[in-house]
Point group: C2
Chain length 475, copies 2
């Protein structure tokens, strides 16, 4: 979803806010003028994400252009105890952005400046509205890159807030490992900094990592410093097809256990390969498939490839099909990233219930195969993609919105899948976050003591519960 364009800036009578006090509206209008909107279309654009939830529009939208804007908006909201929901580009997947208790959406997409590129330290500092692709474009000339790549061209602010990752995480880690420091506006509208550009620190509580993954419930992220990496000297990408999903998973398991520093190791099932071929006009062999990428020196990459080829062949893998040129690689990974949309297109008019779990890699086959069997037995069309090198996979159940029973069935499948992952020692979400959709699962995963601790932290940092209320856990 692209960042919405603000329509007008004056209060539209047909879109009168449900709950905002008139004095607050007036203050916001005075302070933000054209950056403020209560137009229904704008509000509706900000009350949804890529999840299957119905729209829950905020009462108003402020398009912030600076940290000061964010601080002023939060301070005004705090004064009236009105919810504030940070909004990047709307690509989250679990209902994070829905204004379930009304309030103000803070659209930070105009805060899209790359502030400092410190190439010699392999760091870059950006505003929250910079997208991952824009960031990579900005640092291209330095020979460095930022590896974290959720499917969508998400904002770095949103990716920090949800602790996102993607296909490269198996080698480069997630936002947890790659955010060095943040600037954050607190619930009272104060601006603080967490962390420095130093690579390591033991200086007090790790506020950076507390904010990363807090989904806008503990503060509004207004600046992010992330790590960069030298572009690898050599890159090779290949696909390998297998007779069964289990063979593909077991190949992955061995690759990880042998410590091969593979940069990407992605799984699609045959069903999903078919959808990707149709959507991206590719001719991939339609069976369980690993899509792999190898980064390193020319010799190092050759060694990795030889090791992985040998493992794959032990599990009956076909000959590797290579993406030889950078263009072919881009096409392959774009196709992989578009698996979500390919899935949707494979059932015209459908909506998707996506899910996301991560298990210890030795339990991945159990987690994944049983979930596929259940979906097939239920007769719900689905797609399956996995960052299997990390033990992380997603299923998308493609439901007919006109048939409520399909939604019920999809949610049942999701419940079975997540509960199984928890039984296997895994987590209810590897990278999408909790939002609204995983709240109950989080309770099961973390237990009441840990949830109480989260709740205590939330109450301490946001006593009036104005920061993205109603998400992650019930207060």
């Amino acid at each position: 979803m692209n960042a919405p364009t603000p329509a007008g800036g004056l209060l539209q009578p047909e879109a009168a806010p449900r709950t905002l006090p008139p004095a607050l509206i007036e203050s916001l209008q005075v302070r933000f003028a054209q950056q403020f909107s209560t137009t229904l279309a704008v509000r509706e654009q900000h009350g949804r994400d890529e999840s299957a939830f119905d729209i829950a529009p905020p009462d108003a939208v402020v398009f912030t252009e600076s940290t000061r804007d964010v601080a002023d908006a939060v301070r005004l909201a705090a004064q009236y105890k009105v919810p504030v929901i940070p909004f990047g580009i709307g690509s989250s997947l679990e209902g994070h952005l829905l204004a379930v208790q009304g309030g103000i959406s803070l659209d930070v997409s105009r805060m899209n400046q790359v502030l400092h590129i410190n190439a010699e330290d392999l760091t870059v500092t950006v505003q929250p509205g910079v997208t991952r692709k824009a960031l990579n474009e900005a640092v291209k000339s330095t020979g460095l890159f930022f590896p974290i790549d959720p499917g969508a061209d998400a904002t770095i602010g949103g990716m920090s807030a949800t602790r996102a990752s993607g296909t490269n995480a198996v080698r480069y880690g997630t936002m947890r490992e790659n955010v060095l420091a943040l600037e954050v506006v607190t619930a009272s509208g104060e601006v603080i900094r967490t962390g420095t550009r130093a690579k390591k620190s033991s200086a007090g509580y790790d506020l950076t990592r507390l904010m990363v993954g807090s989904e806008g419930t503990l503060g509004v992220i207004t600046e992010i410093t992330v790590k960069l990496y030298p572009l690898p000297e050599a890159v090779m990408a290949a696909t390998c097809s297998f007779t069964t999903l289990a063979d593909a998973v077991n190949t992955t398991l061995s690759v990880i256990q042998m410590g091969v520093p593979i940069a990407r190791c992605e799984l699609l099932d045959g069903n999903t390969v078919r959808a990707v071929n149709a959507h991206s006009k590719l001719q991939l062999r339609e069976g369980a498939m690993l899509l792999m990428e190898f980064h390193g020196s020319p010799e190092g990459v050759k060694e990795q490839v030889a090791t992985v080829q040998s493992i794959a062949s032990d599990f009956g893998g076909q000959t590797f099909e290579w993406a030889h040129t950078p263009e072919e690689r881009t096409r392959l990974w774009t196709a992989r990233h578009n698996a979500y949309f390919a899935g949707i297109q494979s059932r015209p008019g459908c909506r998707v219930i996506t899910t996301d779990t991560c298990v210890p890699i030795s339990r991945l086959a159990d987690a994944l195969l049983d979930s596929v069997t259940e979906a097939q037995t239920a007769g719900i069309p689905y797609f399956l993609v996995g960052h299997v090198g990390d033990g992380n996979f997603h299923m998308g159940y493609l439901i007919d919105p006109g048939r409520p029973e399909e939604r019920v069935l999809a949610e049942q499948l999701n419940t079975q899948l997540v509960e199984r992952a928890l039984r296997l020692g895994g987590t209810c979400t590897g990278e999408h976050g909790v939002g609204l959709h995983k709240m109950e699962f989080l309770q099961n995963e973390a237990g009441s003591g840990a949830i109480d601790m989260m709740r205590s932290i939330k109450r301490a940092l946001d006593p009036d519960n104005i920061l993205n209320p109603g998400k992650i856990f019930p207060l």
Copy 2:
């Protein structure tokens, strides 16, 4: 320091507790019998660490043998609002363990079981009293290892609590990146779990990383799950001497900027090499020196070495001196780890004021060279060791305890060094933690807003301030 042996278990009249209510003492005696001690010698062993602070003994020591022991001890302490200070092996460096407000030291060194080795998932779960060497011994037969190596043979509990790292962090990260999950006893004596064995998770607030580095002020760590790594197929270690410190630092900078996955890149100055030679009976060339280790496949290691040799030679580095056998490598790294003791031995009868900062690597030369010049100008003997691949270095000022003016001077040097690191965008501690010694610096680094946030979290999780009170920041 080795774990102390409890002496007796009965209250010694000459060591009557200063502040513990008699009813609490009685309850502790009933519950813990021989695991409870108020003997002066035992208390004194638990009221110090490797810092230069004077001893501040706790009023009593409980030798916990299980999570239940910890929970019961904390619950009793909570009932009487008495401080509780977790104690591993006493190797911390900034005064973390001193009972500055009295209370009970919880010695977890008997909780030294390796609970679960999950070799196929590259994880292991241990009790907090397991030391890093014991952990590596326990997993040896699996072909895996745990890379984090602070100088001392510290406990995994203590290393988690201080967010420790060491020589391998440049490649493998610190405790921040390597702790997957914890079991923690909260301030009320409740047992919670943070995280799972899944490699990634976006499931709620990152309580694991909040606890890591919280220095016993937010909970008592009773179980730790950490990542393991396959032992590298090939390992090569070498030293390289340089004419100047600047040349050694600039070599490091280029190595990191080129993305060489070097496993260890340590700096000693000539002064420190001399002390190490004397202490460990080595014949290292006495000048600025890098000690390096390369991990990978045989070909990969050769490539890394060739790249680094070429960079070093651009900066006038001498020919690499190789540690050819595993025994030679162990000797070399043991000597490096003993640099602290070598430093102490170089000035008989001295005490050490150590410090620890980390800066963005491009600022390392500035940070380090000025600090050396200042120490030399002041005429205080010192040693200098650096995990320079991370921009992290330590100085130890060797002071005569009989001459208080030396202590003042050393603290002045420390202040100049840390303030310079902060000006250069760094942190006041890369891996030692804040303890008592860095409290003021942390205020400068984090700013009042971030300190207020830490304070809010502390108050929310430990309302009676019983968990290691008086550390990190003033409440």
